[in-house]
Symmetry: C2
Subunit: 186 residues, 2 copies
């Protein structure tokens, strides 16, 4: 039983990581990118890529797993269950922004079975928003799905702005927090 999280050392593991990372970058740029281009970006031959991921869908699955894992880490670091929902949200946004291209993948849904923008029932974001409505830290006139959608939309804007390179991360985070906070406060 070779689990997804094998011994992440040695040549094989290193090659595998390189391919997945390159795939994340390239897929974020163009969802229909050719596998040969991913291989080039990873610095490996196309043959090698196919050795690790026989079919395109296998690679997409691996990328999805990686994204989900990163998402989970972000949730942990943000300690979502501490303080009011709004405070938790203020910790969560910068963490999400660290996901980089994974944000693009989540937003454009190029990846299979990755939790799309607030569609999963076990999404911590859903629970967080529910809590925010209870503790009065969120605007009750906005539906939960709209609140979640707004957060994702602004996160995407923040990441795109950052990727363009015209504004510093500090400025982007500042404006992201300000916008989200004002929009969602009661």
């Amino acid at each position: 039983m070779t689990d997804v999280q094998d011994v992440e050392t040695g040549a094989r593991a290193r090659t595998r990581r390189a391919i997945v990372e390159a795939a994340v970058t390239q897929l974020a740029r163009d969802p229909g990118v050719a596998l040969g281009q991913v291989a080039d970006a990873a610095g490996v031959g196309r043959t090698t890529l196919h050795r690790y991921f026989p079919e395109r869908s296998d690679l997409l699955e691996a990328v999805g797993a990686e994204t989900v894992a990163r998402l989970g880490e972000a949730h942990e670091r943000a300690r979502l269950d501490q303080g009011t929902a709004r405070e938790a949200l203020r910790r969560l946004c910068p963490e999400y922004l660290l996901l980089g291209d994974h944000l693009t993948l989540l937003f454009t849904e190029v990846v299979p079975d990755a939790p799309a923008d607030g569609c999963a029932d076990d999404d911590p974001m859903v629970a967080l928003v529910e809590r925010g409505r209870d503790d009065g830290s969120l605007d009750l006139e906005l539906s939960p799905s709209w609140v979640i959608g707004t957060i994702w939309a602004q996160l995407y804007l923040a990441w795109e702005t950052l990727r363009e390179g015209h504004e510093s991360r500090h400025d982007v985070v500042q404006q992201l927090m300000r916008t989200v906070d004002k929009a969602l406060a009661p």
Copy 2:
């Protein structure tokens, strides 16, 4: 000299419109959609589609022109130069929302030379935001490009929400206006 805007009547014009409209819908769903699928959606043969638009780029160009035209009409209807910038913005949002799938095309930039999210200098949106910063109806701590980005991001969210069909247009417009207004007010 057969201009883009011919006598928009007769069989040819009707067929042409059907193809372009189908292309807008299909391209919004999948930017890499096959031309055969566009032809099917338009209710014409693939041969006929190629008769009107010899190459894929020709169709994309026509779709882009259509989008730009619709955008212009929305700008006119919103009477951007009347009242404060914030008032104009409140008229503009619902108009933009009427653009439907064209919003998706603008947002995902599948179309050539269509003014991407606030990248064009002659974009009325840029002028509007400049005015808003002058007349004090917009938050000065947010950069102009962030303000424009926020508007587009929320518009896209609104359209996607509407397209899902879980909320009425009235509710969506209500939440869109409330969110944008709160986020961008000083």
